[in-house]
Symmetry: C2
Subunit: 305 residues, 2 copies
Amino acid sequence: VPPGHDLLLTTDLLTEGIHFDTATASWRDIGYKAAVSNFSDIAAMGGRARHVVVSIALPPDMDQDAVFALYAGLAEACRRAGAVLVGGDTSASRGGLFISLAVTGVVRSGRALRRDGARAGNDLYVTGTLGDAAAGLALLRRSVFVRPAHRHILIGRHLRPSARLDIGQRLVRNRLATAAIDLSDGLSGDVRHVCRASGVGVEIELDALPVSAATRAYAAAAGLRPAELALAGGEDYELLFTARPRHRMALERLAGRGLKITRIGVIRPRAFGLKLRDGGALRPLPLISYEHFRSGRAGQPRGRR
Amino acid sequence: VPPGHDLLLTTDLLTEGIHFDTATASWRDIGYKAAVSNFSDIAAMGGRARHVVVSIALPPDMDQDAVFALYAGLAEACRRAGAVLVGGDTSASRGGLFISLAVTGVVRSGRALRRDGARAGNDLYVTGTLGDAAAGLALLRRSVFVRPAHRHILIGRHLRPSARLDIGQRLVRNRLATAAIDLSDGLSGDVRHVCRASGVGVEIELDALPVSAATRAYAAAAGLRPAELALAGGEDYELLFTARPRHRMALERLAGRGLKITRIGVIRPRAFGLKLRDGGALRPLPLISYEHFRSGRAGQPRGRR
Protein backbone atom coordinates (compact mmCIF):
# COMPACT_ATOMS: atom_id res chain seq x y z
CA VAL A 1 0.00 0.00 0.00
CA PRO A 2 1.58 3.29 -1.09
CA PRO A 3 2.03 5.98 1.58
CA GLY A 4 -1.03 8.18 2.01
CA HIS A 5 -3.39 5.45 0.83
CA ASP A 6 -6.00 3.24 2.47
CA LEU A 7 -6.35 -0.45 1.78
CA LEU A 8 -9.67 -1.74 0.40
CA LEU A 9 -10.77 -5.35 0.72
CA THR A 10 -13.83 -6.88 -0.90
CA THR A 11 -15.25 -10.32 -1.54
CA ASP A 12 -17.95 -11.62 -3.83
CA LEU A 13 -19.28 -15.11 -4.35
CA LEU A 14 -20.83 -16.68 -7.45
CA THR A 15 -22.68 -19.97 -7.26
CA GLU A 16 -23.78 -22.19 -10.11
CA GLY A 17 -27.50 -22.26 -10.77
CA ILE A 18 -27.92 -19.02 -8.79
CA HIS A 19 -25.44 -16.53 -10.22
CA PHE A 20 -24.61 -18.22 -13.46
CA ASP A 21 -25.81 -20.92 -15.71
CA THR A 22 -23.54 -22.95 -17.96
CA ALA A 23 -26.40 -23.16 -20.46
CA THR A 24 -26.06 -19.45 -21.23
CA ALA A 25 -22.43 -18.61 -20.38
CA SER A 26 -19.08 -20.17 -21.28
CA TRP A 27 -16.62 -21.04 -18.52
CA ARG A 28 -14.45 -18.20 -19.71
CA ASP A 29 -17.36 -15.78 -19.41
CA ILE A 30 -18.12 -17.07 -15.92
CA GLY A 31 -14.53 -16.54 -14.77
CA TYR A 32 -14.46 -13.10 -16.34
CA LYS A 33 -17.67 -12.01 -14.70
CA ALA A 34 -16.72 -13.38 -11.28
CA ALA A 35 -13.73 -11.05 -11.35
CA VAL A 36 -15.65 -8.06 -12.71
CA SER A 37 -18.29 -8.30 -9.98
CA ASN A 38 -15.47 -7.90 -7.45
CA PHE A 39 -13.68 -5.12 -9.31
CA SER A 40 -17.00 -3.32 -9.48
CA ASP A 41 -17.03 -3.13 -5.67
CA ILE A 42 -13.57 -1.54 -5.76
CA ALA A 43 -14.79 0.85 -8.49
CA ALA A 44 -17.71 1.91 -6.27
CA MET A 45 -15.20 2.88 -3.57
CA GLY A 46 -13.17 4.85 -6.10
CA GLY A 47 -10.15 2.59 -5.71
CA ARG A 48 -7.59 0.91 -7.88
CA ALA A 49 -7.69 -2.91 -7.85
CA ARG A 50 -4.41 -4.50 -6.78
CA HIS A 51 -4.38 -8.17 -5.83
CA VAL A 52 -6.81 -11.03 -6.28
CA VAL A 53 -7.14 -14.40 -4.57
CA VAL A 54 -9.70 -16.94 -5.69
CA SER A 55 -11.38 -19.88 -3.96
CA ILE A 56 -13.03 -22.38 -6.26
CA ALA A 57 -15.04 -25.47 -5.36
CA LEU A 58 -15.17 -27.76 -8.37
CA PRO A 59 -17.83 -30.37 -8.97
CA PRO A 60 -16.38 -33.82 -9.71
CA ASP A 61 -17.61 -33.82 -13.32
CA MET A 62 -15.90 -30.56 -14.27
CA ASP A 63 -13.15 -31.28 -16.79
CA GLN A 64 -9.73 -29.69 -16.89
CA ASP A 65 -10.45 -27.65 -20.02
CA ALA A 66 -13.36 -26.02 -18.22
CA VAL A 67 -11.11 -25.14 -15.29
CA PHE A 68 -8.50 -23.65 -17.63
CA ALA A 69 -11.17 -21.63 -19.41
CA LEU A 70 -12.49 -20.34 -16.09
CA TYR A 71 -9.01 -19.20 -15.07
CA ALA A 72 -8.42 -17.66 -18.50
CA GLY A 73 -11.54 -15.54 -18.00
CA LEU A 74 -10.39 -14.54 -14.51
CA ALA A 75 -6.95 -13.65 -15.84
CA GLU A 76 -8.42 -11.59 -18.68
CA ALA A 77 -10.54 -9.53 -16.30
CA CYS A 78 -7.57 -9.06 -13.95
CA ARG A 79 -5.38 -7.86 -16.80
CA ARG A 80 -7.97 -5.31 -17.89
CA ALA A 81 -8.36 -4.05 -14.33
CA GLY A 82 -4.59 -3.86 -13.81
CA ALA A 83 -4.86 -6.38 -10.97
CA VAL A 84 -2.70 -9.41 -10.26
CA LEU A 85 -4.04 -12.86 -9.42
CA VAL A 86 -1.73 -13.90 -6.57
CA GLY A 87 -3.16 -17.16 -5.33
CA GLY A 88 -6.09 -19.18 -4.24
CA ASP A 89 -7.55 -22.36 -2.96
CA THR A 90 -9.22 -25.11 -4.95
CA SER A 91 -11.43 -27.73 -3.40
CA ALA A 92 -13.88 -30.38 -4.44
CA SER A 93 -17.59 -29.56 -4.36
CA ARG A 94 -20.49 -31.90 -3.84
CA GLY A 95 -22.91 -29.25 -5.13
CA GLY A 96 -22.22 -27.16 -8.20
CA LEU A 97 -19.36 -24.82 -8.91
CA PHE A 98 -18.65 -22.03 -6.42
CA ILE A 99 -16.25 -19.18 -7.09
CA SER A 100 -15.33 -16.68 -4.44
CA LEU A 101 -12.85 -13.91 -5.06
CA ALA A 102 -11.30 -11.46 -2.68
CA VAL A 103 -9.74 -8.33 -4.10
CA THR A 104 -7.57 -5.71 -2.47
CA GLY A 105 -7.48 -2.17 -3.70
CA VAL A 106 -6.02 1.15 -2.73
CA VAL A 107 -7.47 4.63 -2.52
CA ARG A 108 -6.11 7.97 -1.28
CA SER A 109 -6.42 8.06 2.53
CA GLY A 110 -9.85 9.04 3.75
CA ARG A 111 -11.18 9.43 0.21
CA ALA A 112 -12.88 6.05 -0.34
CA LEU A 113 -16.47 6.48 -1.52
CA ARG A 114 -19.01 4.96 0.85
CA ARG A 115 -22.72 4.39 0.93
CA ASP A 116 -23.35 6.66 3.89
CA GLY A 117 -22.36 10.06 2.55
CA ALA A 118 -25.52 11.06 0.64
CA ARG A 119 -27.21 14.26 1.91
CA ALA A 120 -30.62 15.79 1.16
CA GLY A 121 -30.24 18.12 -1.79
CA ASN A 122 -27.50 16.04 -3.46
CA ASP A 123 -28.07 15.04 -7.06
CA LEU A 124 -28.31 11.36 -7.94
CA TYR A 125 -26.35 10.05 -10.94
CA VAL A 126 -25.70 6.82 -12.79
CA THR A 127 -23.00 5.95 -15.29
CA GLY A 128 -23.75 4.29 -18.64
CA THR A 129 -27.13 2.80 -19.49
CA LEU A 130 -29.37 0.61 -17.35
CA GLY A 131 -31.16 -2.64 -18.07
CA ASP A 132 -28.85 -3.85 -20.83
CA ALA A 133 -27.51 -6.86 -18.93
CA ALA A 134 -31.01 -7.97 -17.91
CA ALA A 135 -32.17 -7.66 -21.51
CA GLY A 136 -29.13 -9.66 -22.66
CA LEU A 137 -29.87 -12.45 -20.20
CA ALA A 138 -33.51 -12.51 -21.28
CA LEU A 139 -32.42 -12.83 -24.91
CA LEU A 140 -30.28 -15.85 -24.04
CA ARG A 141 -33.27 -17.53 -22.42
CA ARG A 142 -36.26 -16.63 -24.49
CA SER A 143 -36.84 -16.39 -28.13
CA VAL A 144 -37.46 -12.67 -28.70
CA PHE A 145 -36.54 -11.13 -32.01
CA VAL A 146 -34.30 -8.08 -31.98
CA ARG A 147 -31.82 -6.97 -34.64
CA PRO A 148 -28.53 -8.90 -34.51
CA ALA A 149 -26.57 -5.71 -33.74
CA HIS A 150 -28.75 -5.01 -30.70
CA ARG A 151 -28.70 -8.65 -29.64
CA HIS A 152 -24.91 -8.65 -29.80
CA ILE A 153 -24.65 -5.52 -27.64
CA LEU A 154 -27.09 -6.76 -25.01
CA ILE A 155 -25.63 -10.25 -24.66
CA GLY A 156 -22.15 -8.71 -24.46
CA ARG A 157 -23.35 -6.47 -21.63
CA HIS A 158 -24.66 -9.54 -19.80
CA LEU A 159 -21.68 -11.86 -20.36
CA ARG A 160 -18.87 -9.33 -20.37
CA PRO A 161 -19.73 -6.38 -18.16
CA SER A 162 -17.15 -3.73 -17.34
CA ALA A 163 -16.20 -2.53 -13.88
CA ARG A 164 -16.24 1.27 -13.84
CA LEU A 165 -12.87 1.59 -12.16
CA ASP A 166 -11.81 4.59 -14.19
CA ILE A 167 -14.86 6.73 -13.44
CA GLY A 168 -14.75 5.76 -9.74
CA GLN A 169 -11.14 6.91 -9.55
CA ARG A 170 -11.94 10.17 -11.30
CA LEU A 171 -14.78 10.86 -8.85
CA VAL A 172 -12.32 10.41 -5.98
CA ARG A 173 -9.52 12.40 -7.60
CA ASN A 174 -11.81 15.39 -8.16
CA ARG A 175 -13.78 14.92 -4.91
CA LEU A 176 -17.02 14.97 -6.86
CA ALA A 177 -19.13 12.31 -5.15
CA THR A 178 -20.60 12.16 -1.64
CA ALA A 179 -21.62 8.47 -1.81
CA ALA A 180 -21.49 5.63 -4.32
CA ILE A 181 -22.51 2.02 -4.90
CA ASP A 182 -22.28 -0.29 -7.88
CA LEU A 183 -25.45 -1.54 -9.55
CA SER A 184 -25.38 -5.28 -9.15
CA ASP A 185 -28.92 -5.97 -7.87
CA GLY A 186 -30.56 -3.29 -9.97
CA LEU A 187 -31.25 0.40 -9.38
CA SER A 188 -34.46 0.03 -7.39
CA GLY A 189 -32.72 -2.29 -4.91
CA ASP A 190 -29.27 -0.75 -4.75
CA VAL A 191 -30.45 2.82 -4.23
CA ARG A 192 -32.08 1.59 -1.01
CA HIS A 193 -28.68 0.60 0.38
CA VAL A 194 -27.42 4.15 -0.09
CA CYS A 195 -30.58 5.69 1.39
CA ARG A 196 -30.53 3.39 4.41
CA ALA A 197 -26.81 3.90 5.08
CA SER A 198 -27.08 7.67 4.63
CA GLY A 199 -30.40 8.11 6.47
CA VAL A 200 -32.03 9.89 3.54
CA GLY A 201 -34.89 9.58 1.06
CA VAL A 202 -34.75 9.84 -2.71
CA GLU A 203 -36.80 11.02 -5.66
CA ILE A 204 -36.00 9.30 -8.95
CA GLU A 205 -37.22 10.65 -12.26
CA LEU A 206 -38.39 7.66 -14.29
CA ASP A 207 -38.08 9.42 -17.64
CA ALA A 208 -34.49 10.40 -16.86
CA LEU A 209 -33.23 6.82 -16.61
CA PRO A 210 -30.67 6.21 -19.35
CA VAL A 211 -31.76 3.34 -21.59
CA SER A 212 -29.81 2.23 -24.66
CA ALA A 213 -31.34 1.94 -28.12
CA ALA A 214 -30.71 -1.82 -27.90
CA THR A 215 -32.66 -2.16 -24.66
CA ARG A 216 -35.48 0.01 -26.07
CA ALA A 217 -35.64 -2.37 -29.02
CA TYR A 218 -35.71 -5.41 -26.73
CA ALA A 219 -38.39 -3.82 -24.53
CA ALA A 220 -40.54 -3.08 -27.59
CA ALA A 221 -40.20 -6.65 -28.86
CA ALA A 222 -40.91 -8.15 -25.42
CA GLY A 223 -43.80 -5.81 -24.63
CA LEU A 224 -42.06 -4.26 -21.62
CA ARG A 225 -41.64 -0.67 -20.55
CA PRO A 226 -37.96 0.31 -20.98
CA ALA A 227 -37.92 2.26 -17.72
CA GLU A 228 -39.03 -0.83 -15.79
CA LEU A 229 -36.06 -2.75 -17.19
CA ALA A 230 -33.79 0.13 -16.20
CA LEU A 231 -35.19 0.14 -12.66
CA ALA A 232 -35.09 -3.60 -12.07
CA GLY A 233 -32.33 -4.95 -14.26
CA GLY A 234 -29.36 -6.27 -12.29
CA GLU A 235 -25.73 -6.78 -13.18
CA ASP A 236 -25.13 -3.69 -15.22
CA TYR A 237 -22.21 -2.93 -12.90
CA GLU A 238 -22.67 0.77 -13.52
CA LEU A 239 -22.04 3.19 -10.66
CA LEU A 240 -24.79 5.01 -8.78
CA PHE A 241 -23.50 8.06 -6.95
CA THR A 242 -24.56 11.26 -5.29
CA ALA A 243 -22.97 14.69 -5.66
CA ARG A 244 -23.49 18.30 -4.57
CA PRO A 245 -25.38 20.48 -7.07
CA ARG A 246 -22.37 22.79 -7.40
CA HIS A 247 -20.48 19.94 -9.06
CA ARG A 248 -22.91 19.58 -11.98
CA MET A 249 -20.63 21.31 -14.46
CA ALA A 250 -17.60 19.35 -13.35
CA LEU A 251 -19.53 16.11 -13.74
CA GLU A 252 -20.67 17.10 -17.21
CA ARG A 253 -17.04 17.68 -18.19
CA LEU A 254 -16.09 14.33 -16.66
CA ALA A 255 -18.83 12.60 -18.63
CA GLY A 256 -17.74 14.28 -21.84
CA ARG A 257 -14.40 12.52 -21.62
CA GLY A 258 -15.84 9.06 -22.11
CA LEU A 259 -18.57 7.25 -20.28
CA LYS A 260 -21.99 8.82 -20.14
CA ILE A 261 -23.12 10.18 -16.75
CA THR A 262 -26.83 10.91 -16.24
CA ARG A 263 -28.57 12.84 -13.46
CA ILE A 264 -31.60 10.73 -12.56
CA GLY A 265 -32.97 12.33 -9.41
CA VAL A 266 -32.31 14.03 -6.13
CA ILE A 267 -31.67 12.98 -2.55
CA ARG A 268 -34.48 14.00 -0.17
CA PRO A 269 -34.78 14.03 3.63
CA ARG A 270 -35.51 10.67 5.18
CA ALA A 271 -39.13 11.61 5.91
CA PHE A 272 -39.75 12.02 2.17
CA GLY A 273 -39.24 8.30 1.67
CA LEU A 274 -38.20 6.60 -1.57
CA LYS A 275 -40.27 7.89 -4.48
CA LEU A 276 -40.49 7.63 -8.21
CA ARG A 277 -41.66 10.57 -10.33
CA ASP A 278 -43.49 9.07 -13.27
CA GLY A 279 -44.70 11.87 -15.52
CA GLY A 280 -46.65 14.16 -13.20
CA ALA A 281 -47.28 11.52 -10.51
CA LEU A 282 -45.12 10.72 -7.49
CA ARG A 283 -45.41 7.12 -6.27
CA PRO A 284 -43.44 4.87 -3.93
CA LEU A 285 -40.32 3.40 -5.50
CA PRO A 286 -41.24 -0.23 -6.25
CA LEU A 287 -38.80 -2.90 -5.10
CA ILE A 288 -38.32 -4.82 -8.29
CA SER A 289 -34.76 -5.85 -7.69
CA TYR A 290 -34.38 -9.57 -8.17
CA GLU A 291 -33.59 -11.16 -4.86
CA HIS A 292 -32.13 -14.62 -5.24
CA PHE A 293 -33.35 -15.77 -1.84
CA ARG A 294 -36.86 -15.15 -2.98
CA SER A 295 -36.72 -16.25 -6.58
CA GLY A 296 -34.53 -19.26 -5.92
CA ARG A 297 -34.80 -20.55 -9.46
CA ALA A 298 -31.64 -21.27 -11.39
CA GLY A 299 -30.76 -18.65 -13.89
CA GLN A 300 -33.02 -15.96 -12.46
CA PRO A 301 -31.46 -12.56 -12.33
CA ARG A 302 -30.62 -12.00 -8.70
CA GLY A 303 -28.86 -9.71 -6.31
CA ARG A 304 -26.35 -9.84 -3.57
CA ARG A 305 -27.06 -9.09 0.02
CA VAL B 1 -0.42 -1.35 6.47
CA PRO B 2 2.15 0.14 8.83
CA PRO B 3 5.33 1.60 7.27
CA GLY B 4 8.04 -0.99 6.76
CA HIS B 5 5.56 -3.82 6.46
CA ASP B 6 4.33 -6.03 3.64
CA LEU B 7 0.70 -6.92 3.11
CA LEU B 8 -0.30 -10.60 3.16
CA LEU B 9 -3.46 -11.91 1.52
CA THR B 10 -4.79 -15.44 1.79
CA THR B 11 -7.98 -17.31 1.01
CA ASP B 12 -9.32 -20.67 2.05
CA LEU B 13 -12.54 -22.43 1.17
CA LEU B 14 -14.55 -24.96 3.17
CA THR B 15 -17.32 -26.98 1.57
CA GLU B 16 -19.96 -29.08 3.27
CA GLY B 17 -19.53 -32.81 2.91
CA ILE B 18 -15.88 -32.31 1.94
CA HIS B 19 -14.32 -30.12 4.62
CA PHE B 20 -16.89 -30.45 7.32
CA ASP B 21 -19.84 -32.49 8.28
CA THR B 22 -22.75 -31.21 10.32
CA ALA B 23 -23.09 -34.66 11.84
CA THR B 24 -19.82 -34.20 13.74
CA ALA B 25 -19.43 -30.42 14.13
CA SER B 26 -21.73 -27.65 15.35
CA TRP B 27 -22.29 -24.59 13.18
CA ARG B 28 -20.28 -22.59 15.65
CA ASP B 29 -17.39 -25.04 15.36
CA ILE B 30 -17.58 -24.87 11.57
CA GLY B 31 -17.41 -21.07 11.57
CA TYR B 32 -14.56 -21.12 14.05
CA LYS B 33 -12.54 -23.61 12.04
CA ALA B 34 -13.13 -21.84 8.72
CA ALA B 35 -11.46 -18.78 10.23
CA VAL B 36 -8.63 -20.73 11.88
CA SER B 37 -7.70 -22.46 8.63
CA ASN B 38 -7.17 -19.00 7.11
CA PHE B 39 -5.31 -17.57 10.10
CA SER B 40 -3.06 -20.61 9.95
CA ASP B 41 -1.89 -19.51 6.49
CA ILE B 42 -1.01 -16.09 7.91
CA ALA B 43 0.79 -17.83 10.82
CA ALA B 44 2.86 -19.85 8.35
CA MET B 45 4.05 -16.59 6.78
CA GLY B 46 4.93 -15.20 10.21
CA GLY B 47 2.35 -12.43 9.95
CA ARG B 48 -0.27 -10.78 12.09
CA ALA B 49 -3.87 -11.24 10.92
CA ARG B 50 -5.69 -7.97 10.29
CA HIS B 51 -8.93 -8.00 8.33
CA VAL B 52 -11.33 -10.72 7.29
CA VAL B 53 -14.03 -10.88 4.64
CA VAL B 54 -16.30 -13.88 4.29
CA SER B 55 -18.35 -15.27 1.41
CA ILE B 56 -21.02 -17.74 2.39
CA ALA B 57 -23.38 -19.69 0.15
CA LEU B 58 -26.32 -20.91 2.22
CA PRO B 59 -28.48 -23.88 1.33
CA PRO B 60 -32.22 -23.07 1.35
CA ASP B 61 -32.91 -25.28 4.36
CA MET B 62 -30.37 -23.61 6.64
CA ASP B 63 -32.18 -21.77 9.42
CA GLN B 64 -31.31 -18.39 10.85
CA ASP B 65 -30.03 -19.79 14.15
CA ALA B 66 -27.50 -21.87 12.24
CA VAL B 67 -26.31 -18.79 10.37
CA PHE B 68 -25.96 -16.84 13.63
CA ALA B 69 -24.02 -19.70 15.19
CA LEU B 70 -21.72 -19.87 12.17
CA TYR B 71 -20.99 -16.15 12.44
CA ALA B 72 -20.49 -16.44 16.21
CA GLY B 73 -17.81 -19.05 15.58
CA LEU B 74 -16.16 -16.85 12.95
CA ALA B 75 -16.26 -13.89 15.31
CA GLU B 76 -14.77 -15.90 18.17
CA ALA B 77 -11.83 -17.04 16.05
CA CYS B 78 -11.30 -13.49 14.75
CA ARG B 79 -11.26 -12.11 18.31
CA ARG B 80 -8.65 -14.66 19.40
CA ALA B 81 -6.49 -13.87 16.40
CA GLY B 82 -6.83 -10.12 16.91
CA ALA B 83 -8.45 -9.79 13.49
CA VAL B 84 -11.53 -7.82 12.48
CA LEU B 85 -14.36 -9.18 10.35
CA VAL B 86 -15.02 -6.26 8.00
CA GLY B 87 -17.54 -7.58 5.53
CA GLY B 88 -18.68 -10.24 3.21
CA ASP B 89 -21.12 -11.56 0.74
CA THR B 90 -23.96 -14.00 1.34
CA SER B 91 -25.66 -15.90 -1.41
CA ALA B 92 -28.02 -18.80 -1.86
CA SER B 93 -26.57 -22.21 -2.63
CA ARG B 94 -28.14 -25.05 -4.54
CA GLY B 95 -25.54 -27.47 -3.19
CA GLY B 96 -24.47 -27.51 0.45
CA LEU B 97 -22.93 -24.77 2.51
CA PHE B 98 -19.77 -23.10 1.22
CA ILE B 99 -17.64 -20.74 3.28
CA SER B 100 -14.74 -18.86 1.80
CA LEU B 101 -12.70 -16.41 3.80
CA ALA B 102 -10.04 -14.00 2.72
CA VAL B 103 -7.70 -12.63 5.35
CA THR B 104 -5.17 -9.84 5.16
CA GLY B 105 -2.12 -9.76 7.36
CA VAL B 106 1.02 -7.76 7.82
CA VAL B 107 4.65 -8.76 8.27
CA ARG B 108 7.90 -6.78 8.45
CA SER B 109 9.01 -5.96 4.90
CA GLY B 110 10.84 -8.79 3.20
CA ARG B 111 10.53 -11.05 6.23
CA ALA B 112 7.48 -13.15 5.32
CA LEU B 113 8.21 -16.85 5.63
CA ARG B 114 7.81 -18.71 2.36
CA ARG B 115 7.93 -22.29 1.17
CA ASP B 116 10.94 -21.81 -1.05
CA GLY B 117 13.66 -20.95 1.44
CA ALA B 118 14.69 -24.42 2.70
CA ARG B 119 18.34 -25.34 2.02
CA ALA B 120 20.20 -28.66 2.32
CA GLY B 121 21.59 -28.92 5.84
CA ASN B 122 18.71 -27.00 7.44
CA ASP B 123 16.94 -28.68 10.32
CA LEU B 124 13.24 -29.52 9.99
CA TYR B 125 10.90 -28.67 12.87
CA VAL B 126 7.24 -28.90 13.80
CA THR B 127 5.29 -27.14 16.53
CA GLY B 128 2.98 -28.97 18.93
CA THR B 129 1.94 -32.59 18.42
CA LEU B 130 0.80 -34.30 15.23
CA GLY B 131 -2.15 -36.52 14.49
CA ASP B 132 -4.42 -35.24 17.26
CA ALA B 133 -7.03 -33.71 14.96
CA ALA B 134 -7.22 -36.86 12.82
CA ALA B 135 -7.64 -38.97 15.94
CA GLY B 136 -10.35 -36.60 17.18
CA LEU B 137 -12.26 -36.85 13.91
CA ALA B 138 -11.96 -40.65 13.98
CA LEU B 139 -13.39 -40.69 17.50
CA LEU B 140 -16.40 -38.68 16.34
CA ARG B 141 -17.06 -41.21 13.59
CA ARG B 142 -16.24 -44.57 15.03
CA SER B 143 -16.85 -46.15 18.33
CA VAL B 144 -13.35 -46.58 19.77
CA PHE B 145 -12.89 -46.53 23.49
CA VAL B 146 -10.38 -44.11 24.95
CA ARG B 147 -10.45 -42.40 28.35
CA PRO B 148 -12.81 -39.41 28.47
CA ALA B 149 -9.90 -37.03 29.20
CA HIS B 150 -8.10 -38.15 26.06
CA ARG B 151 -11.27 -38.13 24.03
CA HIS B 152 -11.96 -34.57 25.11
CA ILE B 153 -8.47 -33.42 24.13
CA LEU B 154 -8.57 -35.07 20.70
CA ILE B 155 -12.05 -33.92 19.74
CA GLY B 156 -11.12 -30.42 20.89
CA ARG B 157 -8.07 -30.50 18.62
CA HIS B 158 -10.30 -31.50 15.71
CA LEU B 159 -13.15 -29.05 16.30
CA ARG B 160 -11.24 -26.13 17.77
CA PRO B 161 -7.72 -26.04 16.37
CA SER B 162 -5.43 -23.09 17.04
CA ALA B 163 -3.58 -21.06 14.44
CA ARG B 164 0.06 -20.71 15.50
CA LEU B 165 0.21 -16.98 14.89
CA ASP B 166 2.36 -16.28 17.92
CA ILE B 167 5.10 -18.76 17.08
CA GLY B 168 5.12 -17.68 13.43
CA GLN B 169 5.62 -14.07 14.50
CA ARG B 170 8.42 -15.04 16.87
CA LEU B 171 10.19 -16.97 14.09
CA VAL B 172 10.07 -13.83 11.94
CA ARG B 173 11.06 -11.44 14.73
CA ASN B 174 14.15 -13.49 15.55
CA ARG B 175 14.88 -14.47 11.92
CA LEU B 176 14.99 -18.11 12.91
CA ALA B 177 13.27 -19.89 10.02
CA THR B 178 14.29 -20.29 6.37
CA ALA B 179 10.92 -21.67 5.17
CA ALA B 180 7.55 -22.55 6.69
CA ILE B 181 4.14 -24.01 5.91
CA ASP B 182 1.15 -24.89 8.04
CA LEU B 183 0.06 -28.50 8.40
CA SER B 184 -3.40 -28.68 6.94
CA ASP B 185 -3.12 -31.73 4.68
CA GLY B 186 -0.81 -33.65 6.99
CA LEU B 187 2.96 -33.79 7.37
CA SER B 188 3.67 -36.31 4.61
CA GLY B 189 1.80 -34.16 2.09
CA ASP B 190 2.71 -30.68 3.26
CA VAL B 191 6.45 -31.32 3.53
CA ARG B 192 6.39 -32.04 -0.21
CA HIS B 193 5.20 -28.50 -0.93
CA VAL B 194 8.24 -27.10 0.87
CA CYS B 195 10.63 -29.53 -0.85
CA ARG B 196 9.21 -28.83 -4.30
CA ALA B 197 9.22 -25.05 -3.82
CA SER B 198 12.74 -25.06 -2.37
CA GLY B 199 14.21 -27.64 -4.77
CA VAL B 200 15.45 -29.88 -1.96
CA GLY B 201 15.02 -33.36 -0.47
CA VAL B 202 14.25 -34.30 3.11
CA GLU B 203 14.97 -36.98 5.66
CA ILE B 204 12.35 -37.34 8.38
CA GLU B 205 13.00 -39.33 11.54
CA LEU B 206 9.84 -41.34 12.24
CA ASP B 207 10.61 -41.82 15.93
CA ALA B 208 11.12 -38.10 16.39
CA LEU B 209 7.56 -37.15 15.42
CA PRO B 210 5.83 -35.57 18.42
CA VAL B 211 2.73 -37.55 19.35
CA SER B 212 0.54 -36.70 22.34
CA ALA B 213 -0.37 -39.20 25.05
CA ALA B 214 -3.98 -38.90 23.91
CA THR B 215 -3.15 -39.84 20.32
CA ARG B 216 -0.96 -42.70 21.56
CA ALA B 217 -3.97 -43.95 23.52
CA TYR B 218 -6.24 -43.66 20.50
CA ALA B 219 -3.70 -45.43 18.28
CA ALA B 220 -3.40 -48.27 20.77
CA ALA B 221 -7.20 -48.66 20.97
CA ALA B 222 -7.60 -48.49 17.18
CA GLY B 223 -4.68 -50.80 16.41
CA LEU B 224 -2.74 -48.09 14.54
CA ARG B 225 0.87 -47.03 14.72
CA PRO B 226 1.05 -43.57 16.35
CA ALA B 227 3.74 -42.39 13.93
CA GLU B 228 1.48 -43.17 10.95
CA LEU B 229 -1.20 -40.93 12.42
CA ALA B 230 1.41 -38.22 12.93
CA LEU B 231 2.55 -38.52 9.31
CA ALA B 232 -0.86 -38.62 7.70
CA GLY B 233 -3.18 -36.75 10.03
CA GLY B 234 -4.44 -33.49 8.57
CA GLU B 235 -5.80 -30.32 10.13
CA ASP B 236 -3.47 -30.05 13.09
CA TYR B 237 -2.67 -26.52 11.90
CA GLU B 238 0.76 -26.78 13.45
CA LEU B 239 3.70 -25.12 11.69
CA LEU B 240 6.38 -27.04 9.79
CA PHE B 241 9.54 -24.98 9.33
CA THR B 242 13.20 -25.20 8.47
CA ALA B 243 16.08 -23.46 10.22
CA ARG B 244 19.88 -23.28 10.15
CA PRO B 245 21.62 -25.59 12.62
CA ARG B 246 23.24 -22.61 14.35
CA HIS B 247 19.79 -21.56 15.53
CA ARG B 248 19.11 -24.76 17.49
CA MET B 249 19.73 -23.15 20.88
CA ALA B 250 17.61 -20.12 20.04
CA LEU B 251 14.77 -22.38 18.95
CA GLU B 252 15.01 -24.39 22.16
CA ARG B 253 14.68 -21.18 24.16
CA LEU B 254 11.73 -20.13 22.00
CA ALA B 255 10.03 -23.47 22.61
CA GLY B 256 10.63 -23.22 26.33
CA ARG B 257 8.42 -20.14 26.46
CA GLY B 258 5.27 -21.97 25.50
CA LEU B 259 4.48 -24.23 22.61
CA LYS B 260 6.61 -27.30 22.09
CA ILE B 261 8.96 -27.26 19.09
CA THR B 262 10.43 -30.56 17.89
CA ARG B 263 13.28 -31.22 15.45
CA ILE B 264 12.02 -34.05 13.23
CA GLY B 265 14.60 -34.29 10.46
CA VAL B 266 16.94 -32.55 8.11
CA ILE B 267 16.75 -31.00 4.66
CA ARG B 268 18.81 -32.91 2.06
CA PRO B 269 19.87 -32.07 -1.51
CA ARG B 270 17.19 -32.63 -4.10
CA ALA B 271 18.91 -35.79 -5.43
CA PHE B 272 18.44 -37.42 -2.01
CA GLY B 273 14.69 -37.44 -2.52
CA LEU B 274 12.06 -37.57 0.23
CA LYS B 275 12.90 -40.25 2.78
CA LEU B 276 11.73 -41.55 6.09
CA ARG B 277 14.19 -43.00 8.62
CA ASP B 278 12.32 -45.75 10.43
CA GLY B 279 14.65 -47.30 13.02
CA GLY B 280 17.76 -48.25 11.04
CA ALA B 281 16.05 -48.34 7.63
CA LEU B 282 15.69 -45.48 5.17
CA ARG B 283 12.62 -45.74 2.91
CA PRO B 284 10.73 -43.41 0.59
CA LEU B 285 8.37 -41.03 2.39
CA PRO B 286 4.89 -42.47 1.78
CA LEU B 287 2.21 -40.08 0.55
CA ILE B 288 -0.50 -40.71 3.07
CA SER B 289 -1.94 -37.26 3.08
CA TYR B 290 -5.69 -37.40 2.58
CA GLU B 291 -6.51 -35.88 -0.76
CA HIS B 292 -10.14 -34.97 -1.08
CA PHE B 293 -10.15 -35.28 -4.85
CA ARG B 294 -9.27 -38.90 -4.49
CA SER B 295 -11.29 -39.90 -1.47
CA GLY B 296 -14.35 -37.89 -2.41
CA ARG B 297 -16.46 -39.25 0.41
CA ALA B 298 -18.14 -36.84 2.76
CA GLY B 299 -16.42 -36.51 6.06
CA GLN B 300 -13.14 -38.04 4.98
CA PRO B 301 -10.11 -36.23 6.23
CA ARG B 302 -8.81 -34.33 3.26
CA GLY B 303 -6.34 -31.72 2.18
CA ARG B 304 -6.25 -28.55 0.24
CA ARG B 305 -4.55 -28.20 -3.09
